[in-house]
């Protein structure tokens, strides 16, 4: 029994999709703890339910059954609007395809989540500049996503994910759309966020290079967690 409550506490989480008259189980009674400050990797074959699990942890999907506590709050019980507020305050998203707003500049994209906070325009601007600097894009503030490389776009997305100082960062194949060099840079960055800023990171990946960076790897197969491997760090 750990003395400190885990940051993410998952108990018997399950979800199934109904197709016609048959149900297809996607997650079958998953239980998993993630400690604060951990960097955990989820691996597994395509269709095994990795993204589904990550979406549940991030509070953008609802399970059929089970408990999912983050920082002591069972987010499966939160109504829609409260869940949206919870995500704004606690979750930083890193998507495979970056999902930036194409009409906004890099700086504005980073600033976007702060519109949900009471910060003044000036404070928002300052913070956005700081985080864009942190990911090494101080000289690309006024560029739009179309004027940035994939790796640069993902760094903007990471700055956007970090700007609200979230409890957890969730990343679904963050290097899936990048070449080896840019992918490596993104992983270095995530590593720094974890080590220096103590961010808890949950990452889904296929990429062995990405998996290497995680402290702990869990494997999903047909909706069930299998063996646990400690990474050689």
């Amino acid at each position: 029994m750990p003395l400190i409550m885990p940051l993410i506490e998952i108990r018997n989480l399950s979800k199934a999709y109904r197709r016609g008259d048959q149900t297809v189980p996607v997650l079958a009674g998953i239980s998993l703890d993630v400690e604060a400050g951990e960097f955990i990797g989820l691996m597994g074959p395509s269709g095994s339910g990795k993204s589904t699990l990550l979406n549940l942890i991030a509070g953008i999907d609802k399970p059929d059954a089970g408990v999912l506590r983050v920082g002591g709050i069972d987010i499966t019980q939160l109504p829609e609007a409260a869940l949206a507020d919870w995500r704004a305050a606690n979750v930083g998203f890193i998507f495979q395809f970056y999902n930036l707003m194409p009409v906004l500049t890099a700086l504005e994209n980073v600033e976007l989540p702060l519109l949900l906070t009471p910060l003044s325009r000036h404070e928002r601007r300052e913070r956005a500049e700081f985080f864009l600097g942190l990911v090494g894009l101080a000289d690309r503030m006024t560029h739009t996503p179309a004027e940035l490389s994939g790796g640069q776009q993902q760094r903007v997305a990471i700055a956007r994910a970090m700007i609200t100082d979230p409890t957890i960062l969730v990343a679904d194949e963050p290097t899936g759309d990048l070449d080896r060099v840019s992918g490596g840079e993104i992983l270095d960055l995530m590593d720094r966020l974890n080590r220096e800023l103590k961010k808890t990171i949950v990452m889904v990946t296929h990429d062995p290079k990405a998996a290497e960076r995680a402290h702990r790897l869990r494997h999903l197969e047909k909706g069930v967690l299998t063996d646990e491997i400690e990474s050689p760090v």
Binding site: N55, A58, I60, A84, F93, F95, M101, V103, L104
Partner: protein
């Protein structure tokens, strides 16, 4: 930043927004012009004064009344002044040149119409010249008439070739005043009638009466018609406005059709706009899903889409309204005296803005509902 997001999104698909915008501009312009035409049709009635009554033959306007009614009308209590006029209906060179011509009892007639502004000296010249004419500014400009010019008219109701000398040009007191009428002396018409058509001499088409108290119009009208009950020419008296509207009533169905067309135009553009917004939102579902994942509410997404739709509609309306003025003017000039009073009223502009606003709002309803309620996971998967 919300505003910036809305405007930048609106201008994202230049061609599509451009085409939709063009559609809105044309629709708002057409709506404004049709509305202006309908108003112009009613303008004759709008310009009338409620303190004037018109007395005519009860059977029909084409039957006259005896001149001898004048003193009797003047004697009725509440009547402040009486004048009379005959419709002349002459042709100036060709039938296409239509403008109303009246033979009027000039000494009394213009006292009843203070909205016709005439230079004192010109009015004096007109009153002194038996064959003189007083014409509206609009037709004077249209046919290039100046004071002193001789204008020939070919009589139809009063056959023969008539010649008049322009002695004055009147202006309207405001935009509503009809400036396309042609007045000459009833006495001149009557003298000629005595010679050529003696049976039609000393007859009057309509009597115009000024009232001391406009509130008594109904009561006095009844009193007048009662006076001439059972006489040779029974009368029908009504306010000038009711008199004018009786002309409009004949074309009521056309007006209703014109009005219906103007609303159909708006309905069509509403459908076009709704389609544009639906396409736009479908392409951007992943973006709206991302916003929702980041914690933005369904309300925020709804505002983005409504804002974009209304912004496009209002920009289109602004251009459409700006174009309505010069095009209405050109149209009014081309129509000449068919619409003597043709201008874009403030009310029309308000209706144009209102129509655009409704188009923008209605077009956004279904797309914003879709974006606001999209399942985040499904939305993130959709590829724009």
């Amino acid at each position: 930043m919300l505003l910036k997001l809305i405007l930048k999104n609106a201008l994202r698909h230049k061609l599509r927004t451009g085409l939709t915008l063009t559609g809105i501009v044309v629709a708002i312009l057409a709506f404004g012009l049709l509305h202006t035409i309908v108003r112009a049709w009613y303008a004759g009635a709008d310009a009338t004064s409620s303190s004037r009554l018109v007395t005519r033959n009860a059977i029909s306007l084409v039957f006259p009344m005896p001149l001898s009614y004048q003193p009797k009308l003047r004697a009725i209590s509440g009547v402040a002044g009486v004048s009379y006029a005959n419709w002349f209906g002459g042709v100036y060179i060709t039938e296409k040149n239509f403008f109303p011509q009246f033979a009027v009892q000039a000494d009394t007639y213009f006292k009843l119409y203070p909205e016709f502004l005439v230079d004192d000296a010109q009015m004096k010249d007109f009153l002194h010249d038996r064959k003189g004419a007083l014409v509206g500014r609009k037709i004077a400009e249209m046919y290039g008439w100046k004071v002193g010019d001789v204008v020939p008219l070919r009589g139809t109701i009063w056959p023969g070739n008539w010649e008049f000398v322009i002695r004055g040009i009147y202006h309207g007191a405001d935009q509503k005043t009809d400036q396309s009428q042609f007045f000459f002396h009833w006495d001149y018409l009557n003298e000629t009638a005595k010679k050529n058509y003696p049976r039609r001499a000393n007859t009057v088409g309509v009597y115009i009466l000024a009232l001391q108290d406009p509130a008594r119009a109904a009561e006095i009208s009844t009193a007048i018609d009662a006076t001439f009950k059972n006489s040779l020419a029974e009368t029908l008296t009504e306010t000038e406005k009711a008199f004018q509207l009786s002309f409009v009533a004949m074309t009521e169905t056309i007006l209703t059709a014109v009005q219906a067309v103007s609303y159909v135009v708006i309905l069509i553009i509403m459908a076009v706009m709704a389609n544009t917004m639906a396409m736009t939102v479908r392409e951007r579902l992943a973006e709206y899903a991302t916003l929702k994942a980041l914690g933005f509410s369904a309300g925020f997404v709804t505002r983005l889409i409504f804002g974009e739709s209304v912004a496009i509609a209002l920009i289109g309306a602004a251009i459409g309204i700006a174009l309505t003025f010069p095009i209405a003017q050109a149209f009014g000039n081309a129509m000449g005296t068919l619409f003597p009073i043709f201008y874009v009223a403030q009310e029309t502009v308000v209706m144009q803005v209102g129509a655009a606003l409704i188009v923008g709002l209605v077009a956004a309803v279904a797309p914003s509902w879709r974006a606001a309620t999209v399942n985040i996971v499904k939305g993130l998967r959709s590829v724009g």
